[in-house]
Structures are given as structure tokens and as C-alpha cells.
């Protein structure tokens, strides 16, 4: 039962951390709770569908279905995280000052609410489908009670980690808040892009460009809970390939560049 709980916890924690940061980064935007909840609900349904059709997905695209699906949803999430951050680079300051003065959610103009939903959906669907498959395997193996108890325990602890993360974020003073959540979103995006690169390399669509650029697995094992946590938050990879590092750096650079550019344009527009 305990082993079951740990495995479920690891998957749930990944999704919970991403949702916590997205919720923090969109603080003060009216309607975000509804959209994130919709993302969770759609993600749960999506996880069931992906698990149910695991055979079909595996055989799709001449056997490359799983990798291509993963790479596609990961890159979609990266685009949505980028959109959120770029939007925040022109609205974040107003959001922060309005929140301080009115003390409640702001009805800002066009908001990247769909982005929040898509990011949540992808996180829950990817991790959830593994949980469903794993629990199903356990259930057919004949340990239904341990499956339910362990699964529930893992779910609760995983969600709690997300809640702690969110509560922790709220302790950050408002004047630093959005720049810190912005960096967190940026690092998650870069990490997800690197994961997408690994999937595309797995089916031979991208070259590896070198194996094990470094090996920090003795320092921090990537399959440990802490390693997995850092893997989710900043894309920590103990033995990265060249293509992973390239995607990581490019994603970081492109999003940062766009954020600066939009931020400057917005500041210039207001000054004029």
C-alpha cells in the first residue's frame, strides 16, 4: 500500500506543483479559479481516455503515437505558459498595484484564461493517465484494497504538496510576487520543452546531439522525490542530452526575449 501511495504521489505531485504555480502566477485575475477547475476536470477525463486507449495510441503513427502525443501536448503547454508570461510582462505591474489598492480580483481586459485551462489540462492528463494505468494494473493483479487506500493516500499528499507550494508563494511580498512567479513559469516552460525534445529524440525525429552532457545523479537522483520535484519545477535532468539542453536554453531565451520586447513596447506606449 505504501509503495502504491509513493508512486501515485509522485505523479500527482507533478501536476499539483504546476497548478499551484499557475494559480499563483495568475493571482488577481478574475475567473482564473473557474478556468483552472475546468482544466482539472477535462484533464481527469482526458487521463481516463488516454489510459483506456493506450493500445490504440501506442500503435498510432507507426508506433510513435505515445511520443508524438506527449511532445504535442507538452509543446502546447509551453506555448500557453509563454503566452501567460508575455501577457503578464505588459499587465503584471497594473495587476499588482490594482490588487494592492482594491484588495480583490481585477477585471483586466483580454486575459490568457484559456492558457490556464490548457496548462492545467495537459498536466492533469499526462500524470493522471499514468496513475490510471498503474492503479488498473494493480487492481487486475488482485490487490484492489491496497490500490484504493494507497492511491487515495498518494492523491491526498500530492495535492497537499501543491497547496503548501501555493501558500508559500502567497507569502512573497506583492512587489516581488509577479516577477518571481514569472520566473517559475519560465523555468517550468523550459523544462517541459526539454521533455518534448526527449520524446522527439526517442522516435528518431530529432538527433541526440550528445549523451550525458553531465552526470549529477549521485548528487541528486532524478527518480527520487526531490529529484522529480526539481524535474517538474526547473526541468532538472541528471544526465541530459544535447538536444534537451538546446531546447531548454532556446525556450528560455525566446520567451524572455518576447517578454522584454512586449514589456518595453507597453512601457513606451504608456509614456507617449
Amino acid at each position: 500500500m505504501f509503495a502504491t501511495a509513493i508512486i501515485v504521489l509522485r505523479e500527482v505531485m507533478e501536476a499539483a506543483l504546476i497548478i499551484a504555480i499557475v494559480l499563483g502566477a495568475s493571482r488577481g485575475i478574475a475567473g482564473r479559479g473557474r478556468w483552472v477547475s475546468a482544466g482539472v476536470a477535462l484533464g481527469v477525463v482526458g487521463a481516463g481516455v488516454v489510459a483506456l486507449f493506450a493500445d490504440v495510441i501506442t500503435n498510432a503513427f507507426s508506433g510513435d503515437g505515445q511520443e508524438l502525443l506527449n511532445a504535442f501536448v507538452l509543446l502546447a503547454a509551453v506555448c500557453m505558459l509563454a503566452w501567460h508570461n508575455i501577457w503578464m510582462s505588459s499587465h503584471g505591474r497594473e495587476l499588482a498595484s490594482e490588487m494592492k489598492s482594491v484588495g480583490h480580483d481585477v477585471q483586466a481586459g483580454s486575459k490568457p484564461l484559456t492558457a490556464l485551462m490548457v496548462i492545467t489540462f495537459v498536466a492533469v492528463m499526462r500524470e493522471g493517465s499514468e496513475v490510471v494505468l498503474f492503479l488498473w494494473a494493480l487492481g487486475t493483479a488482485g490487490s484492489a484494497a491496497s490500490m484504493l487506500a494507497g492511491g487515495f493516500m498518494g492523491l491526498v499528499v500530492g495535492v497537499l504538496i501543491g497547496v503548501f507550494m501555493y501558500q508559500g508563494l502567497l507569502q512573497i511580498p506583492m512587489r516581488h510576487f509577479f516577477s518571481i512567479t514569472g520566473w517559475l513559469v519560465l523555468l517550468i516552460a523550459a523544462g517541459l520543452a526539454a521533455q518534448a525534445a526527449a520524446f522527439l529524440n526517442q522516435v528518431g525525429w530529432l538527433p541526440a546531439l550528445g549523451s550525458s552532457l553531465w552526470d549529477s545523479s549521485r548528487l541528486l537522483d532524478q527518480s527520487s522525490i526531490a529529484g522529480k520535484m526539481l524535474h517538474t519545477l526547473i526541468g532538472y535532468t541528471a544526465r541530459p542530452s544535447g538536444i534537451q539542453l538546446l531546447f531548454y536554453v532556446l525556450t528560455l531565451g525566446i520567451i524572455l526575449g518576447l517578454m522584454r520586447w512586449v514589456g518595453h513596447r507597453h512601457a513606451a506606449g504608456r509614456a507617449a
Binding site: A3, I7, A54, D55, T58, G63, Q66, E67, N70, E130, L133, F134, W136, A137, T140, A141, Q195, A198, F199, N201, Q202, V203, G204, W205, L206, P207, A208, S211, S212, D215, S217, D221, Q222, S223, G227, T237, A238, R239, P240, S241, Q244
Partner: protein, 111 residues
């Protein structure tokens, strides 16, 4: 114009074929009674290899390796193929994410 397009297409196809082609025949790893058989496979350094993972159990497995950044669900009684490498000499661990006691090693022998 159509000639140039055809040339471009064939060049792209050729590039894709070179990219996805493995340097050797696929190496088979079985999953039997939730264990990897063989649990250690030897691969030469500096070549791209395709692993053919065959699950003969009634349970789904997830072939995962953080060392190799590989991750794929292997449904019950299904098989999947993944590329690895070109790799430097060393030992790379893989495991079943749904049954973490089962693990194995890709051992890359120096040239």
C-alpha cells in the same frame, strides 16, 4: 517548380530516414512476470540503437529511464520500440515505473 519541390521533398525524406535509422538491428528486452529479460544489455559506444520492448504480461508496464530520458507505456501483450544513443561508455539504468522493483541496465562498452 514541381521539380524543385520534389527535390526538396526527397532531400527532407532522406534526412528524416538518416535521422531515424538505427545503426544496428533492434535489441529485444522482454517483460516477463514483471521482470526485464535480459536485465542487462550491452551496446557499443557512439551508435544509435533501437530497443524493442516486448511485454508478455497481462499487466501494463512503463519502460522508463531517467539516465536516458526515455519513457513509454508498454500495454499488456504489446511491444514498443524506442531509440537510444549514440551513447558514451557507461551504465544507464532503466526501470518499470509501474513496478519500480524491476530494473535493468544498458551497459555501453567503450570502443
Amino acid at each position: 517548380m514541381p521539380g524543385r519541390l520534389a527535390l526538396l521533398t526527397s532531400a527532407a525524406l532522406l534526412a528524416a530516414a538518416t535521422l531515424s535509422a538505427a545503426d544496428t538491428a533492434p535489441l529485444e528486452i522482454g517483460i516477463k512476470a514483471q521482470a526485464f529479460v535480459p536485465a542487462e544489455i550491452h551496446v557499443p559506444a557512439g551508435v544509435k540503437v533501437q530497443l524493442h520492448i516486448v511485454n508478455s504480461d497481462d499487466l501494463p508496464a512503463e519502460f522508463e529511464s531517467t539516465d536516458l530520458s526515455r519513457e513509454i507505456v508498454v500495454p499488456a501483450h504489446k511491444d514498443v520500440k524506442v531509440y537510444i544513443g549514440p551513447l558514451d561508455a557507461g551504465r544507464y539504468r532503466f526501470f518499470n515505473d509501474f513496478h519500480q522493483e524491476s530494473q535493468g541496465w544498458v551497459v555501453v562498452d567503450p570502443k
